[in-house]
């Protein structure tokens, strides 16, 4: 009897959170879907029904395809940059050299800073001005005789978005390093010793034993970086403002909805964004919770 009453109390304690998330996550997602099926533009909501018209229009929208291409370029560079730098730095730090703690802290601190601060600083570092007005990283390259590196960063036609992956990698690669380092530290020493006794070289040890064991960590890192990349908004606003050629869906949704008041189209972009994230988040979540409950 008492146990039953306690079970009811347990449920009642989490109920507010369940209700809040049901409304603010699931309810609002459904509401956004509904808006995407209307012709709502302007400040007064209109809840008519136009079917999938907004989706079809969006697929023909030149600006949306720029945003998608930009996201693709950004994601590939950002994810690859973070994974490569993160893995290499983690392997170097795992060698047990003196001073490891200091390096670890230096690599990780950008995580604590907001994308807005990062963006405000990097927009000066990536100043595209040329000639006598050279400044920022270009000026640094010039004084180090690395002139071939001088470029116009986010102002580069068509591929400007690639420059924005640099501050993003600056901010997140240390985090990936920490993930990999934790993964490396969880590999038992016996395994390395056994491989060395069997005459494996360092390269063979990493290639055939350590890297395969890091696969779960890599998957986690991939999912986290992937969803950050699709959601990136603050950083682009802070570095570049709202420029069409640097649009990504998250920024395009904002300008369409809140600057242009095209609510129905904004909701449609938001739905695309949500589907893009869900495609890999939902299987990952189900896999994670399932493997965890098995343990």
């Amino acid at each position: 009897m008492k146990i039953n009453r306690e079970r009811l109390l347990a449920f009642l304690l989490v109920l507010p959170s369940i209700v809040a998330v049901s409304v603010f996550v699931y309810g609002f997602i459904a509401w956004t879907l509904r808006v995407s099926l209307t012709s709502w533009r302007g400040l007064t909501p209109t809840y008519d029904f136009v079917g999938l018209r907004n989706y079809l229009l969006l697929l023909e929208d030149r600006r949306f395809s720029i945003a998608l291409t930009n996201t693709l370029i950004f994601t590939v560079l950002f994810v690859a940059g973070c994974l490569i730098i993160g893995l290499i730095m983690a392997i170097f730090l795992d060698q047990g050299l003196p001073g490891e703690g200091i390096f670890r802290s230096i690599y990780l601190f950008p995580m604590a800073i907001s994308f807005i601060v990062t963006g405000v600083v990097w927009r000066w570092l990536m100043n595209p001005a040329m000639g006598t007005r050279l400044s920022g990283l270009n000026l640094l390259f010039d004084s180090l005789n690395l002139d071939f590196l001088i470029n116009s960063w986010q102002s580069t036609p068509r591929y400007g978005i690639a420059a924005l992956a640099l501050p993003a990698v600056w901010q997140m690669s240390g985090y990936v390093m920490a993930l990999f380092l934790a993964g490396l530290r969880s590999i038992p020493d016996e395994l390395r010793e056994a491989a060395q006794v069997d005459g494996a070289t360092t390269v063979q040890l990493y290639r055939h034993i350590i890297l395969p064991l890091l696969r779960p960590v890599t998957l986690s890192a991939l999912v986290i970086l992937g969803h950050i990349s699709l959601k990136v908004f603050d950083l682009i606003i802070a570095v570049a403002g709202k420029q069409v050629q640097l649009d990504v869906p998250a920024v395009y949704m904002w300008t369409t909805t809140f600057d242009g008041n095209f609510y129905a189209r904004g909701a449609t972009i938001a739905t695309f964004l949500l589907v893009g994230v869900s495609i890999f988040i939902i299987p990952y979540l189900m896999y994670s919770v399932k493997t965890e409950t098995k343990l």
């Binding site: 907001s114 994308f115 000026l139 949500l274 919770v289």
Partner: protein
């Protein structure tokens, strides 16, 4: 044993690791190179902020200031002070409420599992990954409808609600390590759910509280999207104000740098003081606590 022999003995004991270190010394080259890469923006922020107004010159932006000068920091602080106040009024309540909510949820979902608890947990977690653009239109409408649009209290509520997934996850992972027998033993002794939570789990959960505190603090301090969508001019938190400051042509860029540094300082200090917990918090974000 003579001193000489002692020294020799010590040498043989320590020399293998020393030799190993020396053989690997080249690794310091990439390590230092990357450290310079990560510190470079901070260097620019600080030295630019410290330069006097007459030294503002893009051509010498990498040079150290000729004299140390705090006028930019003072000016940036005067401009951003109301926004810092807004951020503090936002961050403290949202962090504290989130922590306790997460603790209760994590406790129940790990130790008092009812039917469907795991499903509910998974469903909650999804809220952590959604792009917030996908709930933004209804959110703004809803906040208008309940009269919480434009102020800090509404923003606190939003941060608490969208913080539920990550705080619940952290506490659930943490409490999962505490043996369930402890709950059973306490129940045998006649302690109920709340009593067990208060006298056994709460005292044990300080590390988890620190992790969640740091996480929520940085999240709400650094947030931009919710802030720009749900606040007005007078209630802008510091991230929105800083972005506006940087976008305006009339504010000198060394004042912008000083402002950026000030806006980053609180989370940086927390990171420096509680860094090792911060790392753990990040791990929790990776789902594999």
């Amino acid at each position: 044993m003579t001193t000489d022999a002692l020294l020799k003995k010590r040498e043989t004991v320590i020399s293998p690791s020393l030799r190993k270190t020396r053989r690997k010394a080249w690794i310091y080259i990439p390590l230092v190179f990357m450290a310079v890469f990560y510190l470079m923006p901070v260097y620019v922020m600080v030295i630019t902020g410290l330069k006097s107004f007459s030294e503002v010159n893009l051509a010498t932006m990498w040079n150290l200031p000729t004299s140390i000068n705090f006028e930019n920091f003072a000016e940036a602080f005067t401009k951003l002070a109301p926004n810092f106040a807004n951020t503090i009024f936002l961050v403290l309540p949202s962090t504290i409420i989130s922590s306790f909510l997460g603790a209760i949820n994590g406790y129940v979902l790990s130790k008092w599992k009812f039917r469907g608890a795991d499903f509910i947990f998974t469903a909650l977690l999804f809220g952590m990954f959604i792009p917030y653009q996908s709930i933004l239109i209804p959110l703004v409408q809803f906040m208008h409808a309940i009269g919480l649009y434009g102020g800090i209290p509404g923003l606190i509520m939003v941060h608490v609600i969208y913080g539920i997934p990550i705080t619940t996850l952290t506490f659930r992972n943490y409490f999962a390590q505490i043996p369930t027998e402890m709950v059973e033993a306490a129940t045998m002794d006649g302690a109920g759910l709340l009593r067990t939570f208060r006298s056994i789990f709460l005292p044990l959960s300080i590390p988890a509280f620190v992790v969640v505190f740091i996480w929520q603090f940085t999240q709400s301090w650094n947030d931009f999207l919710f802030a720009v969508a749900l606040t007005r001019n007078t209630s802008y938190p510091v991230t929105v104000a800083l972005n506006n400051l940087a976008g305006s042509m009339v504010v000198a860029w060394n004042v912008q740098m000083a402002g950026a540094f000030l806006a980053a300082l609180p989370t940086l200090l927390i990171y420096i003081m509680l860094g090792r917990y911060f790392l753990r918090g990040l791990m929790a974000g990776a789902l594999k606590g």
